[in-house]
Symmetry: D3
Subunit: 180 residues, 6 copies
C-alpha cells in the first residue's frame, strides 16, 4: 500500500456474501491496488430480506477473503447505515470509507446517484440467476443445496450461528417490532 | 410488591387491546407477581394498521385492567418506540421497562431475538382467529359487531374518541404524509 | 403584505408540480392574501414515487408561479421533512411555515389530523384523473405526452435536469440503498 | 375512573424521583381525578445528569406511589423520548399520554411552550433547595445522607441496582460513547 | 429568471435576520441573478440561542426582502434541518435547495466543508460587531435599543409574536425538555 | 483464523490513532487470536474534537497496522455510529462487529455498561499523558512536534489529507451548522 493506491469500491447488502461477490472482489483487485467492500443496510438484521447482522456479514466476508488467499492488507470491509436521502448517498458513503477511485456496479441507479463524480465500472457477474442474495435466502429456507453458492467460510459461519434456522424462522414468523 | 417480585412481560401494539390480551394479563398474574405491558410501535398512530396513539392505547389498557379488577399496583404499562435494529431490540426494551424474568410470547421471532437471555413462556390464547388486532380493525371498519371482542372499557374509549370513524376514514383515505 | 394577512396553505409532494396544483394556488390567492406551498417528503428523492429532490421541486414551483405571473411576494414555498408520528403532524408543520388560517385539502385524512385547530377548505380540482402525480410519472416513464399536464416552466426544468431519463431509470432499476 | 375524569400532568426527568415530586403527585390528586407522570429524557441513562434508565425510574415511581398508598388506578406513569423541536413538544407529549386538562409546572418555559392550549397550574414545592435532582445526585455522589430526600422505596431501588456506585462512577469516568 | 441563471447562496440561522444579512442579500443580487437564503438549524426553536421557529424566520426574511423592494422572483428562502455528519453537509444542502454557483461565506469552516466543489466568495459585512445574532439576542433580552439592528419588518414580527418576552424568558428559564 | 478464535475488542474514537492505540492492538494480539478495533462516533467529523471522518480513521488504522507488520487477517476495523441510549450500547456494538470474548478497556464507565456480559481486561497504556487524542490534537494545532506520537503511516495520511490545516481551522472557526 502506498499513498497513490487506486481503490475500487463495491457496495452490497451481502445477505449473504456469495461466490458472485467473491468473484467481483478478485476482478477489482486485478484493476485496482485496493478494494473497499461496503456493507449496506448495516442496521438491519433478523428480517427475511436481511437476516444477518453487520458484524456477522463482516465476519463472513473476512473469512471468505482469507480462505481465498486474498491479501487482506488490500481490503477494507465497512458497514454502512442507510441514508434515506438518496441525493446525499455518495457523500454519506464517502464519509464512511477510505477515498476511492472507481465504483464497481452494474446498477443503473447507482450510476445515476454518483453521476460524474466517480468513475463507474460494470462488473462481469457470472450466473447472476443463482448468485444473488434473494435466490440464496430462498434456497436456504428450503434446505436445498445452497452451500455451493457461497464460499466455504461463509457456509461454515452460517451454520455456526444457526443461520439456516434463522432464515426459516424469519420466513414463517411475523416480523415482530413491525407488526406484532 | 417487594424486591424479589417476579415480573412477566407481554409486548404488543394493542391496536386495540382486546379480550385475548386481557386474558394474557390474567395468565401472567397467575404465574408472576407483576406484569409489564409494553406498547410497541408507540410512535405510530392515525394509520390503518395503527389507528390509536400510544396515549390512547395506554388509556384503554388502564381502563380495561381497572374494570377487570386487576390490581394496578402489579401492572406497568409502557409505550415503546420501535428500534429498527432487531439485534438490539431486547436491550432497547430492557432500557425502557422495569426488570423482568419471563417474556410471554408464542412468536418464534421474539424467541429468537431474546435468545437465551430471557425465559420465554408461550401464552394460551383463546380464539386467536377473532381476538387479533387485524380482524378487529377490519370488523370495526365494517361496523360489524366488534364490541364483544374488546373489554367494555376499551369499547367505550374507542367510541368517545371517535375511533370508529377514524378507522373507517383511515381505510378509505390516503395516508397523507406518506403519499399525498 | 401586512400583519393581518390571511394565509392559506396547501401541502403536497409535488412530484412533479402540475397544472392542478397551479390552479389550486390561484384559488387560494382568490380567498387569501398569501399562500404557503408546503413540499412534503422533502427528504426523499431518486425513488420512482419521489423522483425529484426538494430543491428541484422548489425550483419547479418557483418557476411555474413566476411564469403564471403570480405575485411571489404573496407566496411561501417550504420543504417539509416527514414526521412519522401523525398525531404530531400539525405541530410539526406549524413549526416550519409562517402562521396560516386555512388549510386547503380535500383529503379526509388531513382533515382528521388537523381536527378543529385549523379551518379546512376543499379545493376544486379539475380533471384529477390526469392532474395527479402518479399518472404524470407513469406518463413520463412511457414518453407519452406529459408536457401538457404541467406548467411550461416545470416541463423545462424536468428536461434540463434529465428528469425523463431519471424516472425511466427509477422504474426499471433496483432502488439501491434499500435493496441492492 | 369515568370518562369525565379530570387529569393533571407533571413532567420531569425524575433522576431520581424525590419527596418533592411525591408531594406534587398528592397535590395533583387533590385537584384532579387522575395524574399522569411523564418521565422526560427517557432515552438517556448512565450519564451523570441522567443516571437511571426509564425503566428504573418507572419502577421507583411505581414503588413510591404504592408505598404512599396512592391509588394506582388513578396514576399513569409514561416514559417520553425527547423531541428536539420545542415548538412541537406539546403535540409530542399529547401523542404519548392520555388526554389531560391541567399541566402542573412552575417553569415559565413550559408555560410558554403550551401557550393557551393547556391550563397551567403552579405547584407548591417545599424546600426546592434540597428536593431537586441535581442536589440529590451530588449528595449521593458524596455518600452524604441522601436517603431522607427520597421516598423509602426509591432509596431501596437505588441501593438494589447499585445506583450509588453508578452515580459515583459517572461523576469520575469519561462518558464513553461521547468522548472516549 | 431563465435556465442560465447564476445563483448565489447564503446560509445562516437568522436568529434573527438582521441588517447585515439584508446587506448580504443585496451584495449577492449584484453578483448573481438569484439568491438562495438557507435557514440552518431549522428544527431548533424556543432555545436562547435559537428563539424563533423556522416558519417565523422565513416570515421575517420574506417581509424584510419585500420591504426593501427586492424582487422576490429572484429569491429562494429555504429551511434546512441540521446534519450531524459534516462531511455530508454540502450534499445535504444541495438536496434541499435549487442548484447554486457561488456560496457567500467568510467562514473558513464552510470553505473547508465545500472544498473545491463550489466557488466561495467572501461577503463584505459591515459592523459585524453589532450585526450579529448573539449580540442582537443579548440586546433584546436587555430591552436595549435593538430595533435599529434589524429591518423594520423583522422588528414588527418580533413584536407581534411576543419575541422580546420569549427571549427574556429563555434567558432565565430552564430549557425544559433537556434539563427539567 | 478458525471458528474457535478468541477475539478481543478495543473501542475508541481514534482522533487520531496513536502509538498508545497501536501498543494496545499488540497487547490484544498477545492474548487473543483476533482483534476488533471499533471506531466510535463514526458519524462525526470536521469538529475540533472529531476532525477526521470514519473513512479517514479507518485508513490511518489500516496503514498503521500494515506498517507494524501486524497480520491483517487477524484484524477487524469497524466504524460505529453512536447510540444515545447507553443502556443499549453493548447490544448496539455487538450488532455491528464480529462476536468477541474480551473487551479491553480501563474505563470504569465501559466496565459498567457491559456489566457481567463481557469479560473486561484493563490495558497497560504507556504514557497516557502524551498518548491521548486531546493532547495530540492540541499539539497538532500548535504545530509542535506531534509526529512522534503517532505511527508513521498515520502522520503521512494526516499530511496528505491536509489534517494539520484542518485541525487549526477547526480550532479557530465557528462550527458552522451548529452555530453560524
Amino acid at each position: 500500500m502506498n499513498e497513490k493506491s487506486i481503490r475500487g469500491i463495491m457496495v452490497g447488502r451481502f445477505q449473504p456474501f456469495h461466490k458472485g461477490h467473491l468473484s467481483l472482489v478478485k476482478q477489482i483487485l486485478e484493476d485496482c491496488d485496493e478494494v473497499i467492500i461496503a456493507i449496506g443496510s448495516a442496521q438491519y438484521n433478523y428480517i427475511f430480506q436481511d437476516p444477518f447482522t453487520a458484524g456477522e456479514r463482516m465476519l463472513m466476508i473476512h473469512k471468505a477473503l482469507s480462505e481465498a488467499q486474498i491479501d487482506l492488507t488490500k481490503c477494507y470491509i465497512v458497514p454502512i447505515i442507510n441514508d434515506e436521502n438518496n441525493a446525499r448517498w455518495l457523500a454519506h458513503l464517502r464519509s464512511m470509507v477510505p477515498p476511492f477511485d472507481i465504483l464497481f456496479s452494474g446498477n443503473e441507479f447507482v450510476g445515476t446517484l454518483v453521476g460524474e463524480h466517480v468513475k463507474i465500472k460494470k462488473p462481469e457477474f457470472v450466473s447472476k440467476k443463482y448468485y444473488n442474495g434473494t435466490y440464496i435466502r430462498k434456497t436456504i429456507s428450503k434446505k436445498d443445496n445452497w452451500k455451493k453458492l457461497v464460499p466455504n467460510g461463509v457456509a461454515e459461519i452460517i451454520e455456526e450461528i444457526g443461520g439456516v434456522a434463522r432464515i426459516k424462522m424469519l420466513l414463517h414468523s411475523y416480523s415482530y417490532p413491525q407488526r406484532w
